[in-house]
Symmetry: C2
Amino acid sequence: MKIALDAMGGDNAPKAIVEGAIAAAGLMEHEILLVGIPAEISRHLPVSCPKNVHIHPASEVVDMHEKPTEALRLKKDSSISVSVNLVKEGGAHAFVSAGNTGACTAACLLGWRQIHGFHRPAIGSTLPSLKEDFLLLDAGASPDVDPEHLVEFALMGRSFVMSMWGRENPTVHLLNIGEEPGKGNAFAKQAHALLATHDWFRGNIEGKDMYHGGIDIVVCDAFVGNIVLKCAEGVAEMIVEMIRSAVPTNPIAKLPYLPLKSLMAPLRKKMDYAEIGGSPLLGLNGLGFMAHGRSNAKAIRNALLQAAKAMEADLVGVLRESIAKELE
Amino acid sequence: MKIALDAMGGDNAPKAIVEGAIAAAGLMEHEILLVGIPAEISRHLPVSCPKNVHIHPASEVVDMHEKPTEALRLKKDSSISVSVNLVKEGGAHAFVSAGNTGACTAACLLGWRQIHGFHRPAIGSTLPSLKEDFLLLDAGASPDVDPEHLVEFALMGRSFVMSMWGRENPTVHLLNIGEEPGKGNAFAKQAHALLATHDWFRGNIEGKDMYHGGIDIVVCDAFVGNIVLKCAEGVAEMIVEMIRSAVPTNPIAKLPYLPLKSLMAPLRKKMDYAEIGGSPLLGLNGLGFMAHGRSNAKAIRNALLQAAKAMEADLVGVLRESIAKELE
């Protein structure tokens, strides 16, 4: 199968994107299409390019801060639009981008449309805890949703966690400002009532309890989800910086602090978005993985590996079955 | 002046509350009224009780997880209701509680009513950054609000930060999922448009940028605010626990890690809610400070010091002036 990789998207494009593709190519049979401006891509390709890495031309680039709908309307031949069309027309089977998330989401939604029964797409973000990871969704695709869409996000999350992480019968919590039913704003109360008719629903969860472990999936709207994601990033960065800045810079004075490095290493790894690589865009008739705008080669490599796994697991097929069963 | 302190509220009441009152009494001229069940309070009072600490009887206790409105209706003589009435009738000039926040907020709203011009109360939470603290509001008082209420929260925040922290002309940011105007859900877009008519407004801010410093006030609705607060708590606890658990327990093996303690001390201090003590409930005709349910004696002492400072600064008067000027 083939993965359309947006070679022009992200703060470090196209260099980090091309390097990530080369790193992933050796780990999979699938073909990787580097979609973008050929001259800019080929500059970063090694002399002996892996056989399963190809360039697919696209003449325009959507900037990271461009308005999504406007950019897509004006730049019909952008690397994002060309990639999405490749998947739509069967020329590729998954799309990976570290570019403008809003533009990617809009292009995928317009190009692929929702799977019948799902009304809004959702981005699933993998978050760490003291034990196993959990999936938070929607982390940024659909900021304005109705409470019933959170049930759809729960179904998407379950499909993803079952086929990609191999967890059987994963459970779902609703992110809320109190544990008891009846807590929260009007939206959360309605969502709770709708979710409560499903046996996989485990009730409300507060932000401080998500990180203890034992959680599979947490649902919320994209506004809350994206804020949670970025606040977690901000708090983690602040703490690491506070610890770092307390260590003396003088090479002799800092000697006693050297063991600290080994303590921080697993933490850094757990906090490093590049370890996961990409977040799936779920609910559409196509496979998309959104990588962090700051993605390095390692993040792109891992996002490609995720996309490969999702293609092999026929994630879109699993999602279709799950909503079809719900609608029965 | 007098502070009505809910002696029965919080996980460690009445012991920690009484101890906090004793610790604060020596640091202020004001009288502290320990409101609650006399027999349970007096058990924790020292033989030589400070002259400015008194017991004010209240026969009932609202539990931490009781439904606020129901609890207030059934328990007319609760320590919360009695304290709020004391402030209402002039028998006290501020209220401090580590009890059920929902019940406290509801009792204050019903007992004191909104300052003319403010439609909803807001809780202001002090959050740390790499530089100075900032105020996030609403952190939990009013989960369902309209965009115009965020302008009111901004005015409340400015009054608080000016009179309590002494910052001149503090600025306000809107918590959002993107920096550019036009980002976010429908609510955030409307709030941005309303806030943008004020010269103290500095636009949107993302969660990851709040913790860098240089921020005075961040406004959002209470659902988002409370989730941000608790997620920050959860992430910080996870990181501290990850570092702690990586240190060997064997006394010899852990020797090289001893310098870590000195690195973590300022971090722990910055993360410790007890350092701040209490969060103000703003917008009502009365002064209320909500302390964390897990408050220890130090948190209660610091909440009482905050309440004393707010009484001395006539914070309610400052809030009244600020909204009157806005309505001119």
